[in-house]
Amino acid sequence: MDTLSILLMGFISIVVVNNLVFTKFLGICPYLGVSGRIDMAFGMGLAVTFVVTLSGTLTWLIDHLLLIGTSLEVTRYICFILVIAGAVQLVEMYLRKFFPSLYESFGIFLPLITTNCAILGLCLLISLEGINSLLEAVVLSFGAGIGFTMAICIMAGIRENLDLADVPDCLKGAPITLITAGLLAMAFMGFAGMIR
């Protein structure tokens, strides 16, 4: 396969088939916590997309230029956490300076992205799968962010309608949300096996 189709396949795979939220159940905390309203969910998704693309690229670079060369793969976890925390800080400062209104609307979600395990998961996944080209790593990271945005927006849309539904008392709140998340994940299992 030529490069373009590999990239395209990788993108579709990480967005739909191997969606981090639906198949690996990563990043569940913001997925359930910030999916109350669709506009907020979308904002969160965009912020995550930005950070995950940045940190996915950076970690791939550090992994290949530094860690593999010096056979220090054991320190991956710590290094990646460092990179993600640093990247979030940088993004926060940048947004605050140049896009104050965006910064205001993200509010607390921006620093919270640091602890979003979907991002660390994606970085580790990239090194685990042995992705060898930088371009592919970038596309995969971006796709993971898009996949997360899609998941959280679908969830927010459902939950907005769920507010009007007649839910039995014992299932109100978190239980029905978790059941919904489970059903959504099952629905997305229909894509399983389409692409590796």
Binding site: I62, C79, M93, R96
Partner: protein
Amino acid sequence: MLLADIYQLWQSAWPAGLTMLGLGSGFALVLLIASVKLKVEVDPKVEEIHQALPNLDCGACGFAGCGQYAKAVLEDAELLGKCAPGGPDTSGKIADILNLQVSDSGPHKKPIVHCRAHTEDKTFYAKYQGIQSCTAANALANVQACAFGCLGFGDCCEACKFDALSIVDGLATVDYDKCTGCTACSKACPRDIIEMVPFRHENMMTVACRSKETAKSTRAICKVGCIGYGLCAKQSDLFKVEENLARCDYAKYETTEKEETAMNKCPTKVIIYRGKTAPEPLQPRQKAAAST
């Protein structure tokens, strides 16, 4: 032997440590440069005002949180005094920061529920089984006999961020120890029976009813409703009767013996104390000499 082990461990560990150190300092340097280059000048007054605010993020001022309010009040001094939980103290502090004089806005306002009918005092024509919220129930004309009294579904409790309200036997009850005076409950009540009242004293006397029904129909549907008989108004200027309903004029609030007599003489005992250490309300159709 042990020393050799430690040495071996050190041999394999130092590159990792060094790499982490290098990476860490690299990121620290980048962040340091970024923090200098991307520094945002914030007016120190915003920070000062923010410190002076109670930091409850209750939203009573109409802004999303204390941070936003601090910024807004700096730009527009007319917004001063919107902080309900902070009350006059906070307004004064902010005014000091802004070099303004604040006019005396009176004592801190706290909510008073103008109804004292528990479930056993009320009359119901039928059992309501709809959506369990006051707003929904209020849309129905005959949800309970009294069209003015507390519905008891707890919209105010839900609105309260400080857990200061609870429904006790079908009546919203304020816990004045927890209440910050943020006005959320009085906005949430669809029947407008929660009024923000300046608490001059720890306990305030109030006419705990909002019913404008005639004496006859009020008596028929509620054991503790105001019938507008006017005994209290005869005793004291504090009370005024309009549209079959006695009201307490909080602008000239003052409790002397006259008001105590008015409270004791009230035939349905609807004049009661509300507050932190409010005495048990008198019960109707009892001798007025009950303990206070």
